[in-house]
Subunit: 468 residues, 2 copies
């Protein structure tokens, strides 16, 4: 088109941005943005591919697909293949994806740590959005009236399920293993909070979310989550100062109560106006985006008042489930959930270091012995919650107890905080991680069995095996 | 439950993680992860709220909603309210969201820059995923056969639309404004590449994506994008060494051709197996996730071989549109697109500094005068492409020309690279930004008018105003 052989140009450019220009034509100057995007895309491919492969396999051997996603995460995560990018202590970041980016996309060695940190950050946030969307969907599929009706039972299940493991765990560690009192309380507290995400997903997969048992479990798990946060605050302040800051506990209890009840009451009050507003909107995706705005605002408030974002998302789903838009919205949220939720479960698995389970390593043995005790307490302490349910004839008490077993993320937060503050010994820390892994991985197949047994023995009704 | 008043505890903890524990019960030790999540949630609320408000308003005054989303971005972005978090040169990050996080969620002043950088990174990647999903959806709604049928016309439109603005721009700047030759070539090159995202979105909004004009525009815009990348590589290497690296150009041309044709041929060859595989899958979201894996893999390859991720996503959509799963997949992608695409348009608007348009500031005047020239060349240079279409009786040549006008992101990359390398003077750099802003904001309403006029004058068929 034009003679380009101009020999007289003499301009000075910073070298770093020019190598970018020729290597990556789309790079805005001096940033590694395209490499971060490329790394995130690769990570998502790894997450989706492993989630589907192992999930499909697990469905065929009659195990819950969500357990398959957790196992997929373990396989691609820090314990085995190391395909995803997560911070690995002082060694910085290491992952096959980073090597692949260096090899295929011209990622330069000196830029690796910066790009890796960004990829890790983005995937972590996507996974957090995943559990927010999951709890929003669970709220949308829950029935507020049914939840309120089983409220007293759920409260009993939650309180028993927090108190029994905490007391058994703390005293057991003190007396059987001679653990000092503060670490014993800390580990006992780590036994309290049920992971609502895993149980809810399994219930949804076997079509039991809206059953009486399902709603008691969900209600109890939500209360449990609130109680777990309060316990964490108590234990952390105890570990810090040797005494308990009553003001903080009262604040958390009041704010949790006000938030959950307030969000639902206010939401119900405002929902007719919300529906009327949506009816008047005409642009694409108005229902979905308006609902996401609502869910994200409540999630933000939940996070900001030191509770959890997922509680806000759950409350938003509950409120919107009461409106006439429920069915339409549920349909639209399905694809969003399909895209985001697997990221959460694979990332949970990927961040879990299962090498503490290896009995051949002598360093693990003390932890494993304590872990056997913690797992027993963790399972028994939640199984008794089923017995505590009152006034519900013919209810599947076993299923309720099992549904409360998985500990998941809150337990890992305890282990992480314990390790960072030095309050937990290495073996106790490892034992908590083992407890979280085993309860998380055992509960889904057991929950399925508990419901299947009931069906086979009681009414031979066919159980939905295929969730679509 | 247990006596907590233990006064004998004496442990030493690092202070930083303890303040986190009490402030943010869910925080894994010593990270600001919950604050990053909170910031991302707030950013998404701002994006969705502004996109819907201004989008709905624009629809009511008969302007395209996507233009509303761009304007919404300008309003909440760096030019006006500064609600979103983006790097702001040497001053670091500043945003009302950060102030809000400090006020409501206990973000500490010393942690602001780190959290801000993470939020900015996450939102940028979400916006990039947004344009990938958009191009995937556009590919899915396109008709490969029709696209191949109009291929020759699209090629002519693309080549004319790159050559004319480049030549007019470069020579005009040289002779009319006495701009030195390298900056003139650089600015001329910035006039070449059409922004496919904006045009495709407007075409979809007015239901004209699958029309003959629509398919010519899409085909030409895709080729244009490839040509634009090649031009950028040429110009960048010219600016760097004063000469053109022929090898690099040949590489880009060959790789682009091989990639686009190869992806489509291979995809068509493999798609029966893909469909058979999906038919055998049973877990939730198997069709959507399998398709996303395909789209993300091609996007990654597109990015890795120095083309663009969006070209891969478009090719993936085209291939999947040929399978029997098209209708089902289209339905599932709608919600994903509704969630992600507005992030892209709002972020494009938010990152654009419209203060260079202010004629009261004397520093802007030289740039504005050059900008008037560049805008004229940008519009005329693309309008003539409609005239170049051959062998298509009764085709809306005006609509094709207008459809090619918006420059968008590639133009901004030129401005960014130009500013970073010092090859462009401040006024020329500002003029390019003004050209991008005006072509981007003018084209959507003009495109709508061009199609509406045709309808009114030719067949009085009612135009779909509401896109749902």
């Amino acid at each position: 088109m034009i003679d380009l052989s101009i020999g007289t140009v003499s301009l000075t450019f910073p070298v770093y941005s020019l190598s970018k220009i020729s290597l990556l034509a789309t790079a805005a100057a001096a940033t590694d943005a395209p490499l971060v995007l490329a790394g995130v895309l690769l990570s998502l491919v790894v997450i989706y591919l492993s989630a589907k492969l192992v999930g499909e396999l697990f469905l065929r051997i009659n195990l819950p697909p969500v357990l398959g996603e957790l196992v997929a995460g373990v396989i691609v995560g820090i314990s085995a293949l190391n395909l995803l990018v997560f911070p690995n202590g002082e060694a910085g970041f290491h992952s096959l994806i980073l090597d692949f980016l260096q090899f295929t996309a011209g990622l330069e060695p000196e830029a690796v740590q910066g790009v890796a940190s960004s990829i890790s950050e983005v995937i972590s946030v996507l996974s957090e959005i995943g559990v927010i969307i999951l709890l929003f969907e669970i709220g949308l599929e829950s029935d507020l009236k049914e939840l309120l009706r089983v409220g007293p039972q759920a409260a009993v299940v939650a309180i028993v399920g927090v108190a029994v493991p905490f007391i058994l765990g703390t005293f057991g560690l003190s007396f059987l293993f001679s653990v000092p009192v503060v670490p014993a309380i800390f580990a006992g507290a780590a036994l309290t909070a049920t992971s609502i995400g895993i149980t809810a997903k399994v219930l949804a997969e076997i079509g039991r979310l809206s059953s009486r048992e399902g709603q008691i479990i969900i209600g109890a798990a939500v209360l449990d989550d609130v109680l777990g946060i309060i316990v964490l605050a108590v234990v952390a302040s105890l570990a810090k100062t040797g005494e308990v800051r009553i003001g903080n506990i009262v604040y958390l209890m009041v704010s949790a109560t006000v938030f959950l009840i307030g969000a639902i009451l206010l939401g119900r009050l405002l929902s007719p106006y919300f529906v009327a507003l949506i009816e008047n909107m005409q642009t694409r995706g108005h229902l979905l985006l308006s609902s996401l705005i609502f869910a994200f605002v409540l999630s933000y408030i939940g996070a900001a008042i030191q509770l959890e974002a997922i509680l806000g998302a759950f409350a938003a789903g509950l409120v919107l489930a009461e409106t006439e838009k429920r069915t339409e919205l549920e349909k639209q949220v399905v694809s969003i959930a399909d895209m985001f939720v697997p990221i959460f479960f694979v990332v949970v698995g990927a961040k879990t270091d299962v090498s503490v389970l290896n009995p051949i390593d002598p360093a693990n043995r003390e932890g494993l012995i304590i872990a056997v005790f913690l797992v027993a307490v963790a399972i028994l302490g939640k199984l008794v919650t089923g017995v505590a349910v009152f006034g519900q004839d013919g209810i599947n008490r076993l299923a309720i107890g099992i549904g409360m077993i998985p500990r998941g993320e809150v337990g890992l937060v305890f282990a992480g905080v314990g390790a960072a503050t030095g309050v937990l010994s290495d073996s106790l820390d490892a034992a908590i991680i083992v407890m979280v892994i085993l309860t998380t991985f055992l509960a889904p197949p057991l929950l399925r069995l508990a419901f299947q047994k009931e069906i086979t023995s009681e009414n031979l009704e066919s159980l939905p095996q295929k969730s679509e």
